[in-house]
Point group: C2
Chain length 311, copies 2
């Protein structure tokens, strides 16, 4: 292992940042940097760029590396970045993880390889282990990304235990997007005491998570509602916490009536007065006019806004 | 579209060629070329390199491109090649498809983007359409790869119809690995008359497929049993066809008692006296000693052999 000093671990609310594309479906680095700045100004502690909600799996390693370099060049601190670096291909995961460490990112959030289904924990252990060994850098802080509804391949408690025992300090935590609170609680009860930082994958579990030792959350709607979600994080010990939690859960409920990723893009396009944001890279498609109208109307009816977004 | 002459379409038995890896998990080009030569000598009409059985999704675009160049440099005719070029990332699919066309491959076999689940036919249409337009080369012959048990995202009849209407000549056919004969038959009945070449994804459906207008098959076990499978293809109109089919189906049945990809590798390692073949790239793992022994014992008991494989 190449020696190096780890960045302070991120705690709080992270957004899996949506990625803007041009009409030719090329990633739009300038718009991406602007949205990241707004998120940090608005309460996000960190940016989980290249997540599921980022359409990251529709981009090549080279495209993602270029966006990461644009963020750093644009003044976004590496200490706030937790890019997704997990791919089907071992070599791709190694390449982007190494780039993230060298660019000074605080951590990386790694999907398991997700093409082959029904793979063994031994195979997944070898995959993560090989990435860690090949990157070979003590600065690496790796968060495991458990999202069985999409990836189908999940991260079991047994796999976490084995990786954590072998790579303490490097294996830093997990995002749990199972949507199953019992699984999140089991991760917390099993490993939080060993310095394993757990982030529920939705703000719906933020308050409950914090009460059980979670370090924050990494949530899709962090892209559009960062202020109120960060407020729950800041005030979770206050008497008002349950009321604040109910507010952000209500907003989430409205957004997830539509397909999540295009809905987030429509919201940013509408409230930021920036129609280019609507484009999704295939295989995803933008909302229909009727879907967007339903979304915006209902968001407005609950008093939703995105302060400071419009230029 | 850049004008160009298409290669004659491949008909017959294709193997989704297994990929050898070194102890460091790097692709082993020399061993790969040797196995491809043996397959063509032994009856395969074509090589569907970079398929599911090739662990292709565990390799980067650069690794696959290097292997493809090694095949061409090693004298494997482009006219026999149908590499898999479908990735989650639009940009990756474009890059490898373009490389395949430029290297003179007869066709490409394209997975749909498979990370996001429940995507619309409109989104998949845009993905394939964008690849075709960006490659922009009349030499392209694209085969759609339908393998819902693994990719989860499938190719519907409606999507085929739309792509075939827009890109006749370029959209050349499909591999159907659904394992559902009714689906294969529906593809044949719907589109074979329009020059859409259908290949069942297992030799179990070879004879039935040929009787309904299929052009051959693309099958995992083509890696180890190419002679007898090609013999069914050659003799399917003979009185002996059903007996020959029963023979290859029996071999298949033995192999699929074990995890398919490591089982194919164990068979090549054993019968080719070449232990290096056993290595699988994570997340896949090799067979245990007991699994391999069960496989080899049962294969021998039915008189299985791999003539000409051992050096």
């Amino acid at each position: 292992m190449k020696p190096g000093n780890k960045t302070k671990r991120i705690e709080g609310v992270l957004a899996p940042v949506i990625t803007p594309f041009g009409k030719d479906y090329a990633p739009d680095a300038a718009r991406f940097v602007r949205h990241c700045r707004w998120l940090l100004r608005s309460g996000c502690a960190g940016l989980a760029v290249f997540g599921t909600n980022s359409e990251a799996n529709s981009m090549s390693v080279a495209e993602k590396r270029a966006l990461l370099e644009a963020l750093i060049a644009g003044g976004i601190p590496g200490a706030s970045l937790m890019p997704g670096t997990g791919h089907c291909a071992l070599s791709d995961s190694i390449e982007l993880t190494r780039a993230a460490v060298e660019l000074g990112c605080a951590g990386v959030l790694m999907l398991p390889p997700f093409y082959y289904k029904g793979v063994s924990d031994e195979g997944l252990y070898r995959h993560f282990s090989e990435v860690i060994e090949r990157v070979g850098d003590e600065r690496l802080q790796l968060y495991l990304y458990h999202i069985p509804p999409v990836a189908q391949v999940g991260i079991t408690l047994g796999l976490i235990e084995r990786l954590l025992a072998k790579y303490p300090g490097i294996v830093a935590g997990a995002k749990d997007s199972s949507g199953d609170w019992n699984n999140t609680r089991a991760m917390l009860e099993g490993f939080a005491k060993d310095g394993f930082d757990v982030f529920p994958g939705s703000e719906v579990f933020l308050l409950e998570g914090l009460r059980h030792g979670a370090k924050g959350c990494i949530t899709a709607t962090g892209n559009i509602n960062p202020g109120p979600i960060a407020n729950v994080y800041r005030q979770w010990r206050s008497a008002d916490a349950d009321r604040l939690q109910a507010g952000i859960s209500a907003t989430r409920k409205v957004v997830q009536k539509q397909p999540m990723i295009p809905a987030l893009k429509s919201a940013v396009a509408h409230f930021g007065n920036d129609p280019a944001w609507r484009t999704c890279r295939p295989p995803l498609v933008e909302l229909t006019g009727a879907q967007e109208e339903a979304l915006i109307t209902e968001l407005k009816s609950i008093g939703f806004s995105m302060p400071g977004l419009a230029a």
